[in-house]
């Protein structure tokens, strides 16, 4: 019997990040790139510091964004690992540690920042 | 030389060989079975069968109808007791394949769907779209992987049966990849090597269908039976010979000459209306439909293509949806190999050699006159096809008789307790003879001899025959065999994957089979089924020729032809009637 692969963990994080990127990305582009600058549906200060700070201070928004960013990190780590593999740089345990370790680090940072923002809101 | 011991050696990994192997493994898991094939099993020619397999399951159908269609289709040259066994087993075997996962096409309610084929009174053909043989073969191959007692020798080329004490006790084979010989010692051998359509140039068959199973048995004195009966499939692509299934006509396709006229109505398969109806027009039997083409061609009413004359198979009225559901591969084949999309234009078709009705003489259990040797499938003449095979009976045949032969061979192998013969000397002698071919410095190329054989057979033993051309063919074949014996010049002298050498060995077998066909044909002074003469023997002669032909091997000389009686149980010969009402139901139970 062949040993079970632990890839499902990373693949589902990768898949989650990819799916959210696909869903959230266009919406952010629409809001930040088009609607706000053109003044459609948002006030002139919609992206102002105060408004943004208040928004991020809400636990749901702050932590939600942190999770989103974490999944993006894992998506990127996984993609980089596999692209390197396709280019002939094969996934050694060390390389995996670097890729996924960076994602873990980035995710931890994102959560930390969210925590600070929420607590000091 | 490596020696491999097994109870049973099965030569050929197509449908018949695989079914025999599974049957033997199931009947006695303790038997060791060697399945030897010159190609990996799923490459075998069963894969190319398109239309389907016959088995009574439709509410309108009966076993009697299947019996009668088969016997009348075979122009009363069938072994009726064998046909009786056959029709009783078909549905069981096709159901068994369902249990093994074969993706049979279904009705909306999930039941088995069946369609008409030529010469059938009721729809009887189980099909898996138009890739029935492909699905049957892959289902059997994949199922065979469940049985640990089946040991495969893929890409091993068998050259000789080894007989000691009047009994087959071994087989000499070469591992194609290395060219190393191996002696397979055993208690019984099942030949499942397929037909010999590559005797002819224009044929629907794969390159591997070269008849060496027949040749191996024949060289050991086993008669080849009814070899004159060669089936031309009426609808193949001109040039390549690629098969366009009879299922295309079963689904409603029609045949048109160059004037757009459904010419079959002029050849005893009309009248046109009502259409569609069974056993009429395009659903006539293959011999009659192919012969009708020949007459149309003679009369100049065929269409010229770059690859010779043709008629049109028109499917346009079926519509794209039905064509894609029932005949997807036909559409793909026509698009790729004839640059014709049948949804939009008719496909040019002409007859090509498709099937060898005759073969190694054997009984209902596949047992040949040589003890320990069994034969099954197209290489065998078990007696169900007579003078003309009905479409769909051959896929059913390889299942029904594959099982029968597998079980019988297993039984025999269990009964034999004597220690196997040594066979070493014999095997080395045969090996030396085969290896000697690698050293021939004189001689002709394989392709030269092969294309001359094609020319002889096409011109002398074609769809329509006469004594003069058949005698010429016999003489020319004899001379050609002499030339072959004098030497085939090979560019390739190595042992490893030497396909030129193996092709030359095949050709030796094929030439013998061709000679058996030509001589059997010449000796049959009548017309029956696929054997149609135009030299005063234009009709069937039951007084003199309601009998099998047997071709006996006579060393380097031409074969000796004898005749043997046909078993008739409950259907005495009548006129074969298609088209106009053939009164289907009252015929089967008569004396």
């Amino acid at each position: 019997m062949k040993p079970r692969s632990h890839e499902p963990i990373f693949w589902s994080l990768f898949g989650g990040g990819g799916m959210l990127a696909a869903l959230v990305g266009p919406i952010l582009v629409l809001i930040v790139g088009l609607l706000v600058p053109m003044g459609m549906g948002f006030g002139p200060d919609a992206m102002g510091y105060e408004q943004m700070r208040a928004l991020l201070g809400h636990p749901l928004v702050g932590f939600g964004l942190a999770i989103l960013i974490a999944l993006f990190f894992f998506h990127a780590a996984h993609r980089i690992l596999h692209t390197l593999h396709d280019l002939g740089v094969h996934a050694t345990p060390r390389l995996k540690q670097i890729c996924y370790g960076s994602a873990v680090g980035g995710s931890a940072l994102a959560v930390l920042v969210a925590l600070v923002l929420v607590v000091r809101a | 030389m490596d020696v491999i011991e097994s109870d049973l050696v099965i030569i050929g990994g197509g449908g018949a060989g695989l079914r025999a192997a599974i049957a033997a493994a199931e009947s006695d898991p303790g038997l060791s079975i060697s399945l030897v094939s010159k190609v990996v099993p799923m490459r075998s020619h069963t894969v190319a069968a398109e239309g389907g397999a016959a088995g009574v399951i439709h509410p309108d159908d009966t076993l009697d109808k299947h019996f009668d269609d088969t016997v009348s289709g075979g122009d009363w040259l069938c072994e009726q007791d064998v046909v009786e066994y056959f029709i009783g087993q078909c549905t069981r075997e096709l159901t068994q394949l369902e249990h093994w996962g074969c993706p049979w096409s279904r009705q909306e309610d999930g039941g088995i769907n069946v369609r008409y084929f030529g010469g059938m009174k009721s729809p009887r053909t189980w099909f898996a779209a138009d890739k029935t043989g492909f699905h049957i073969l892959h289902t059997l191959f994949q199922t065979s992987l469940k049985y640990p007692s089946i040991r495969r020798f893929d890409e091993f080329f068998c050259t000789d049966l080894l007989v000691e004490g009047d009994r087959v006790q071994g087989v000499l084979a070469f591992n194609i990849a290395t060219g190393e010989s191996v002696l397979l010692r055993c208690k019984a051998v099942v030949l499942a090597t397929g037909g010999a359509s590559r005797v002819f140039g224009q044929n629907t068959n794969a390159g591997i269908v070269t008849g060496e199973g027949m040749g191996m048995a024949y060289s050991q004195g086993v008669p080849l039976r009814d070899m004159e009966f060669v089936q031309w499939h009426p609808t193949a692509l001109p040039g390549s010979g690629i098969l366009i299934t009879e299922g295309a006509r079963g689904e409603g396709g029609i045949l048109l000459n160059k004037d757009g006229y459904r010419y079959l109505q002029d050849y005893g398969m009309g009248p046109l209306d009502p259409w569609p109806r069974p056993r009429a027009m395009e659903l006539g039997p293959r011999d009659r439909v192919s012969q009708a083409f020949w007459h149309e061609d003679q009369a100049g009413r065929t269409v010229e293509t770059t690859n010779g004359s043709a008629v049109h198979l028109d499917l346009r009225h079926l519509g794209e949806k039905k064509i894609m559901e029932r005949l997807p591969m036909i559409r793909e084949l026509a698009c790729t190999f004839a640059a014709t999309d049948p949804v939009h234009s008719p496909i040019p078709v002409r007859p090509a050699v498709h099937y060898t009705m005759g073969g190694v003489q054997c009984d209902v259990n596949g047992a040949t006159p040589l003890q320990g040797l069994f034969a099954v499938g197209e290489c065998a003449s078990v007696g169900i096809h007579g003078a003309n095979r009905l479409g769909s009976n051959s896929l059913a045949e390889l299942l029904v008789f594959g099982r029968a032969a597998g079980e019988s061979a297993a039984r025999l192998a269990r009964e034999i307790t004597a220690a196997p013969a040594d066979l070493n000397a014999q095997a080395h002698e045969a090996e030396a003879r085969r290896l000697n071919m690698l050293n021939a410095d004189e001689g002709e190329r394989v392709a030269v001899i092969r294309s001359e054989m094609h020319d002889i057979m096409e011109s002398g033993v074609g769809i329509v025959r006469d004594a003069e051309r058949m005698s010429q063919a016999c003489e020319r074949l004899s001379a050609l065999r002499d030339r072959y014996r004098r030497g085939v010049k090979l560019d390739d002298r190595g042992r490893c994957f030497n396909t030129e050498w193996l092709t030359a060995i095949e050709l030796g077998h094929t030439l013998q089979v061709a000679e058996a066909m030509a001589h059997s044909a010449l000796a049959r002074k009548e017309s029956r089924g696929a054997h149609l003469r135009q030299d005063g023997f234009d009709t069937r002669d039951d007084e003199a020729f309601l009998c099998h032909s047997l071709a006996h091997h006579e060393g380097n000389g031409p074969p000796r032809i004898s005749h043997a009686p046909v078993t008739i149980t409950r259907s005495s010969p009548r006129e074969r009637i298609y088209g106009r009402d053939s009164q289907p139901d009252q015929t089967a139970r008569e004396e």
């Binding site: 062949k2 | 190609v39 069981r92 790729t336 390739d492």
Partner: protein, 249 residues
């Protein structure tokens, strides 16, 4: 008659008994519009050089014997036509990623072992006894697996798969598609026996969804889709196993 032209066919040659390394040999072959690459090779074998070695059989794209690389693309040589390359020369090589036995023939034993490893046969449930009747299966149920049952084992997908090229332990597109064919069959209950193959590193996780397998498949099997569906299956199995009661797999 169709006009005859000539084309240069450049073949990879390798004979293990005499050659240390593969080399290329060119042949000038007359051809007509309907001639396939396979027929070009046959012409060489019959008339120019009997030592050129390649596999073929049905010449109608159903036996799966004649796969090779033509100008670096994996194709069935029987349904690839010389006219589409003329007047350029063509280069014919054995299927990529496989060991060469001789000239254009490759060693397929690794694939056959993989095919066997996926339990490619119907495994009905223990209480399923159809007796002597065929089971029911509706046309819709057939559609769930029929596409995956079209594989002719020609190995073009293995030659196209960069992952198989990098790591030959990967079970590969055709074998995994065949595995899925049985899992997706309403009559089959053998999925549990096939989970090991799916779940392994060399199973579906060897695939990075390059998708070339589905691109080159001459029978439109879409192995990439089969594999990706089973990544979901494997992921569910990975996490849900913790929820299953003990004693059950």
């Amino acid at each position: 008659m169709t006009q005859t032209r000539t084309i240069i066919i450049e073949c990879l040659r390798f004979h293990p008994e005499t050659d240390e390394a593969p080399y290329y040999q060119s042949y000038e072959v007359p051809f007509t519009a309907e001639m396939s690459v396979l027929e070009g090779l046959q012409y060489i074998k019959d008339h120019l050089d009997g030592t050129l070695t390649f596999r073929w059989s049905c010449r109608m794209a159903i036996c799966g014997s004649c796969g090779c690389m033509v100008n670096n693309e994996p194709v069935l040589s029987c349904q690839t036509f010389l006219r589409d390359y003329h007047p350029s020369r063509i280069r014919v090589e054995p299927l990529a990623h496989f060991p060469i036995l001789r000239d254009l023939t490759i060693d397929q034993t690794d694939f056959l072992a993989k095919l066997e490893s996926v339990h490619p046969y119907l495994i009905p449930s223990a209480d399923d006894d159809p007796g002597d009747q065929p089971r029911n299966q509706t046309p819709d149920q057939i559609q769930d697996y029929l596409g995956y049952a079209q594989c002719i084992n020609c190995l073009l997908c293995y030659a196209a798969c960069p992952q198989y090229g990098l790591n030959e332990a990967f079970t590969g597109p055709a074998a995994l598609a065949l595995l899925h064919r049985y899992n997706a069959d309403s009559r089959d209950a053998g999925k549990a026996q096939r989970m090991d193959v799916i779940n392994a590193e060399e199973g579906v996780w060897g695939c990075t969804l390059v998708g070339e397998c589905s691109e080159v498949c001459p029978k439109h099997v879409d192995p990439a889709r089969a594999i990706n569906q089973n990544k979901i299956v494997s992921t569910q199995d990975y996490f849900l196993r913790f929820l299953k009661p003990r004693g059950r797999r």
